[in-house]
């Protein structure tokens, strides 16, 4: 059972993902090799203040969008 292993299910950039439970948004970004200062996070349709990345825990069932700037006109 995933619950016993401490994993949670999230929808991350449109894809279902199983990730370890209990981690902060900051932890998640670092685990994905991302530099938190270059990423904007939308959690359940709410933009998350970057200063709060370390204190906000990713919860089971969260919908997360991680966006950044790319080339465009």
């Amino acid at each position: 059972m995933s619950h016993d292993l401490g994993t949670i299910q999230v929808l991350l950039n449109g894809k279902d993902r199983e990730i370890p439970g209990g981690q902060s948004v900051q932890d998640l970004l670092v685990s994905l090799d991302l530099r938190p200062e270059l990423v904007v996070v939308e959690r359940n349709r709410q933009i998350l203040d970057r200063n709060r990345f370390p204190e906000v825990t990713v919860e089971d069932g969260d919908t997360l969008e991680l966006v950044h700037f790319v080339g465009g006109g």
């Binding site: 950044h68 790319v70 080339g71 465009g72």
Partner: protein
């Protein structure tokens, strides 16, 4: 010599009247070299999902220093006011500025804007404190409404995005410039340096382009050509051109000819 006035948007002065995009370059190095050659100090960027399978190579800020270039995020790819507002808020949360290139597309084939949705989004975003630079078509009434809505700049197209057709409606570009107080920036459709020059000769404040540079065989050379074209057009506008006439007038004296 005629002196130019500073180019100011929402109280912020920019050194170049050429604004360039950062999309469609073959490599990031060519992009950076081309932008430097263009002399632009404002560059547009798009907001997209991080590709979680290749996080290392992605993200334009790994290549472009926001201290060197002023970033103008866009809402490209949005087809509704609601989507554009969502992208705008995400862009601002990146923490660079309140400036935004608002773009709400209405038609997939021509990429012409949905002006009703653009106006709706502009009103809301202006209320939220954004400095909205609105991409629009070459319609005077829409341009006036966008100014009324509080946009910091109005950006009519020269011709469809990525088409390279140049200025298809110079009369209305001039009329929009004549009638608006806020800066008018022609955005989209420029194909080559003469287009940039012709655009600036209409008297607009600036020109914004991406594909014309990125899709050239040598983007860095084209970027420099665009810099010169933009500057030439601006100077020609300030200089005040001679009247065109459909009859020849000799340039050399008609007196003093040999018998």
């Amino acid at each position: 010599m005629t002196q130019d006035t500073p180019f100011v948007i929402a109280g912020r002065e920019f050194g170049s009247r050429l604004i360039v995009g950062t999309g469609k370059y073959e490599t990031n190095q060519v992009m950076v070299d081309a932008i430097r050659a263009s002399g632009a100090d404002m560059v547009t960027v798009a907001v997209r999902r991080v590709d979680l399978d290749r996080t290392k190579e992605e993200g334009i800020l790994h290549h472009l220093d926001p201290k060197e270039f002023f970033l103008l995020p866009n809402t490209a790819g949005c087809y509704t006011a609601e989507d554009a507002i969502r992208y705008a808020r995400l862009a601002r949360a990146a923490g660079f500025s309140d400036f935004l290139k608002l773009e709400v597309i209405g038609d997939e084939r021509t990429l012409v804007p949905d002006v009703a949705a653009t106006l709706e989004a502009a009103r809301i975003l202006v209320d939220e404190g954004f400095k909205v630079m609105a991409y629009t078509n070459d319609d005077l009434v829409t341009a006036l409404r966008l100014e009324d809505a509080g946009c910091a700049a109005v950006m009519p197209l020269a011709s469809p995005i990525g088409s390279g057709l140049g200025v298809v409606n110079p009369f209305f570009i001039r009329e929009i410039k004549r009638r608006l107080e806020v800066p008018v920036i022609v955005d989209a459709g420029v194909g080559t340096a003469s287009d940039a020059c012709i655009t600036m000769e209409q008297g607009v404040d600036a020109v914004l382009m991406n594909t014309a540079i990125a899709a050239a065989d040598d983007p860095v050379a084209m970027a420099e050509a665009m810099k010169l074209g933009t500057r030439a057009g601006r100077l020609a506008f300030l200089a005040g051109r001679m009247e065109a006439r459909e009859i020849a007038v000799p340039s050399s004296p008609t007196e003093g000819m040999l018998a």
